[in-house]
């Protein structure tokens, strides 16, 4: 028995030891798990904080407006630009972002801005507009003339990641002291003393809330709030609370107060803009006041600080009374702590909320143009970089031109539909506008609804081009000055071409007539199909194809005879590239939508420098432009001048395809090139030719643009001669119809037309005078 007991006792001792050792093991394992968990939390805290804290969408900017004496610009245009930049109208500007206007005199203080080539400081400027141009630009304080001022650019969009968070990152030293002290006063008074959690402050908050009769303060420290925002879901469980406290302690262990405060300022959720959440004070300032933080007043800081507690409950746009109460409460706390004087607080409390009217922020102001920017960027960046790296993308977009494009396209298509008895919305259109010498895209429309972000016809509508291709055929001819000049007579008589397979092709003119022998320039101006087809066949189709390629047309071009009459299918953008080369005197510049890209720290990542390639000799390009000038003076484009002033120097070409499916007009002045396409998505007939459709859109647009620089009027190696149009030989007043034409030196006819020279030399000046006044 005793033995047994002994044994039993021995057994139980053994058992206890065993139990202990199990317990110990469990404890050790638990400790290890806990330690592992803490290590994991610690890793989380540091990884998130050190690593990429926020994914920042790329911001896309329009071209910055350069102001200088002589710049063509109306007072309304300048006003519109400043309004798009959220410059605030005041009676007397005192800080950046404010403007006063007295009729044609503007006084504004520009915002400093880091452009791709450096910082432009703030300027205090008085500017006078007269005769639709900037007349005078002076420093408002010294009165001294200023040669050039560059404004900050309008932000036209952002590339957002899927989760739609947005921020305007601020550095702590950029944030006004008033804001941080108010924030700390209201949200976490002990911020600079505690180690992440503050049991006392919870108590203090409780007391303060009791005293105020409402919830004035929360008990969580800023660190806890940050952790909550940063790493955790919003569920309210004890575990989460515990995690939050532990991570807050860790955060404080690893980072100093300023780092935590800065992160908080950029992280805190402050509102909702559609499906985009507004994070951080930087963006909130723009969202509620349309100003950067640095420009806010004391009561505006107070409002933002008040919002931390409940951006939706205190939404100043939806619940202005609640927001005002909350703001004034914050102002009261600030006065209590001596952050503002009692007087200041009283005055601030009496002020309006000052919140701007809600406008959906410019995520997608110009979707068609942004689409082009995105495509050009994709050559150099991954999609992920565009939505997370905070790139700053400087584009070529000119908002003034873009607004005009949008306004004109839909209005004109509506009128065209009404005029043809078409259902509203039947017609669609696309427009590309570029600068002549730089090849920069100033504006783009891919749909008549400018907010439509789907099918982008300017880039993706591959349509038959019709006669807009003809200048390439004439260029190919004029590149051989020994064979062809603008005065060469072309045969516009009946033509039948036999294909090797026995099929025949007999092109016809639009007016169904044949015109016998016509000077080359006139055949282009009137867009004669038969003469052009014969010319193209004489030159050889491969020659025409290679000319098109040199002009920059990147498309699969089949060398069929119908190619020379525009059987090729191109997008409006491709047509633009072709005309770009012609318009800039034969120098091909790849059409650009982007000037430069900076990273989030405003360091240059990439620039897109101006590149030119001499693709066509300047002289033949000059001759083609002359032909296209005749096209709008006397040919298919002449209805332009029913509206546009005769002083506007234009070269342009219409294009119409079979069954009137596509209506094109491509035209340029000395400053701008615009290509317009009008058609139907179902590819049915529009009932419109180039001149009754797209040309009118183009005309409306250039009527808005106002005065334009002239086309190039002289070129080395070009000489002018008066030509008798009937014979293509030298003519004078004795001939029925003469025209002054440019020739590549040595290529002009030397023979006088029979009609010339019959008039006595004495009479000639009289005729010359008569012509002057006709």
């Amino acid at each position: 028995m005793a033995k047994r007991r002994k044994r039993r006792r021995g057994k139980s001792r053994k058992k206890t030891a065993q139990r202990r050792s199990i317990l110990l093991r469990v404890l050790v394992i638990l400790a290890l798990v806990l330690a592992g968990y803490l290590v994991y939390l610690d890793y989380q805290v540091r990884h998130q904080f050190d690593g990429k804290r926020w994914s920042l969408p790329a911001r896309v900017y329009a071209r910055p407006l350069e102001l200088y004496a002589g710049l063509p610009m109306t007072a309304e245009e300048l006003s519109a630009e400043l309004s798009a930049l959220h410059y605030h109208p005041v009676s007397s500007p005192r800080q950046p972002g404010e403007v006063s206007r007295n009729r044609n005199v503007f006084h504004f203080i520009s915002r400093p801005f880091v452009h791709w080539d450096g910082e432009e400081p703030s300027h205090n400027i008085r500017l006078t507009i007269a005769n639709d141009a900037v007349q005078q630009l002076v420093d408002a304080r010294s009165g001294r003339p200023v040669s050039l001022v560059r404004l900050d650019p309008v932000m036209v969009g952002s590339f957002y990641p899927a989760h739609n968070e947005d921020r305007v990152l601020v550095r702590l030293d950029e944030v006004p002291k008033e804001l941080t002290s108010a924030l700390i006063a209201v949200e976490d008074r002990g911020f600079y003393d505690h180690h992440g959690i503050a049991p006392l402050s919870i108590l203090r908050a409780l007391l303060a809330n009791i005293r105020a009769g409402t919830v004035v303060q929360g008990g969580s420290t800023l660190s806890q709030q940050l952790v909550k925002n940063f790493y955790l879901s919003s569920e309210r469980t004890l575990t989460r609370k515990l995690n939050e406290a532990v991570m807050a302690l860790m955060l404080e262990w690893h980072y100093d107060k300023d780092e935590i405060l800065e992160a908080y300022l950029n992280e805190v959720y402050l509102g909702q803009d559609g499906n985009r959440s507004v994070h951080g004070f930087g963006l909130a300032s723009h969202f509620y006041f349309e100003r950067p933080l640095a420009e806010l007043s004391i009561e505006q800081f107070a409002l933002l600080v008040g919002l931390v507690k409940g951006p939706s409950y205190y939404n100043p746009r939806r619940h202005p009374e609640r927001a005002r109460e909350r703001r004034n409460l914050v102002l009261g706390v600030m006065a209590e702590l001596g952050l503002v004087t009692a007087d200041e607080a009283v005055r601030a409390k009496s002020r309006k909320l000052g919140v701007s009217r809600y406008r959906r922020t410019a995520i997608n102001t110009f979707p068609a143009f942004l689409d082009l920017v995105r495509r050009q960027l994709r050559r150099d960046y991954r999609e992920e970089d565009l939505t997370t790296e905070g790139l700053r993308i400087f584009t070529t977009l000119n908002p003034q031109v873009q607004w005009q494009v949008e306004q004109v396209l839909d209005a004109r298509l509506g009128r065209l539909e009404a005029g043809r008895g078409l259902d509203a919305g039947t017609l669609q259109g696309a427009i590309v506008v570029t600068s002549i010498q730089g090849g920069e895209v100033l504006a783009l429309a891919g749909d008549r609804n400018p907010k439509f972000a789907g099918f982008n016809r300017a880039l993706d509508a591959v349509r038959q081009v019709g006669s807009v291709i003809k200048p390439a055929v004439y260029l190919a001819a004029l590149e051989q000055p020994s064979r062809y000049t603008l005065a060469s007579l072309l045969d516009d008589g009946p033509l039948t071409w036999k294909a090797p397979n026995g099929k025949t092709w007999s092109p016809r003119n639009y007016d169904l007539q044949f015109h016998d022998r016509v000077p080359l320039y006139r055949s282009l101006a009137h867009s004669y199909n038969v003469a052009t087809a014969r010319l193209g066949l004489d030159l050889g189709l491969p020659t025409v194809v290679s000319t098109l390629k040199r002009l920059g047309v990147e498309a699969d071009l089949q060398p069929y005879p119908s190619l020379v009459l525009g059987a090729a299918e191109l997008t409006p953008l491709q047509v633009t590239q072709m005309y770009q080369t012609l318009a800039s005197g034969g120098f091909r510049t790849p059409i650009r939508a982007i000037r430069a890209v900076l990273n989030a720290d405003r360091m240059p990542l990439q620039s897109y420098p101006l590149r030119v390639t001499a693709a066509v000799r300047p002289a033949p390009a000059y001759l083609v432009t002359t032909g296209l000038r005749h096209a709008v003076r006397e040919g298919t484009g002449r209805s332009l001048y029913q509206v546009l002033p005769a002083s506007m120097d234009i070269a342009g070409k219409t294009g119409t395809t079979d069954d009137l499916r596509d209506s094109w007009f491509a035209g340029y002045t000395g400053d701008r090139l615009a290509v317009v396409w009008v058609g139907r998505d179902d590819n049915q007939s529009t009932g419109l030719t180039g001149s009754t459709g797209s040309l009118l859109v183009w005309r409306d647009l250039f009527a808005h643009f106002g005065e334009q620089g002239a086309l190039q009027s002289a070129l080395e190696g070009i000489e002018y001669q008066r030509i008798d149009t009937a014979t293509g030989l030298l003519g004078d007043g004795g001939c029925q119809d003469t025209v002054e034409l440019p020739f590549i030196q040595g290529s002009a006819p030397v023979e006088m037309s029979p009609c010339a020279g019959a008039v006595s030399p004495l009479q000639r000046p009289v005729d010359w005078f008569k012509e002057l006044f006709e």
Partner: protein, 189 residues
């Protein structure tokens, strides 16, 4: 990349500085850079395929600027160049002076947006590109300048000289000789 180019073409760097200094306008106050100014830091005496700076003189002050192609009236006080363009030319000159050719090119592009058919601006841009070692690009830009310089034979001659240098640099001596010939026929320098 640009560093290498500068290293290869120290002479051209100096040259662009001189050119910009000489061409920036007539009456505006710009820091005068005299011929023979010490080269910017890091540059050495002319070397490589580019001929010496002396062979590429600046556009004479007071030279009428592309008289036929100017589209807007320019202020007479600045010798044909709008003041905004003169200001930018000044800046480009300073940037070239400190060896920042990339920045000078960006500034010249900015000036070209204001005055796109100013043949002198295109010429300067060509000069900067050549100094950066971008000979192909420089030649194209000089040709562009020429296409806008009707009547200005002196500028045309300079563009042909620049083209000759670019061709030398690319290892095309016969092309270079042809360009030099064109420059000579365009008259006195």
């Amino acid at each position: 990349m640009k560093v290498t180019a500068n290293y290869l073409l120290p002479g051209a760097t100096v040259l662009s500085v001189l050119l910009l200094a000489g061409c920036a306008g007539t009456s505006h106050q710009s820091p005068v850079v005299e011929q023979g100014t010490p080269a910017p830091r890091g540059s050495r005496s002319p070397a490589g395929p580019v001929s010496s700076p002396a062979q590429l003189p600046s556009v004479p002050v007071g030279q009428p600027v592309e008289p036929t192609a100017v589209t807007r009236p320019a202020s007479p006080a600045t010798g044909g160049q709008p003041p905004a363009v003169v200001a930018l030319l000044d800046r480009a000159e300073q940037q070239a002076n400190t060896g920042d050719l990339d920045a000078a090119a960006v500034t010249l592009e900015r000036a070209l947006r204001i005055d796109p058919r100013n043949a002198i601006l295109w010429h300067h841009l060509a000069t900067v590109r050549l100094a950066e070692g971008e000979a192909v690009e420089a030649e194209q830009l000089a040709a562009k300048s020429n296409s806008l310089a009707a009547g200005n034979h002196s500028l045309q001659a300079k563009n042909w000289e620049l083209i000759a240098q670019a061709r030398h640099y690319r290892g095309d001596p016969s092309g270079a000789r042809a360009a030099e010939q064109r420059a000579r026929t365009l008259g006195p320098r």
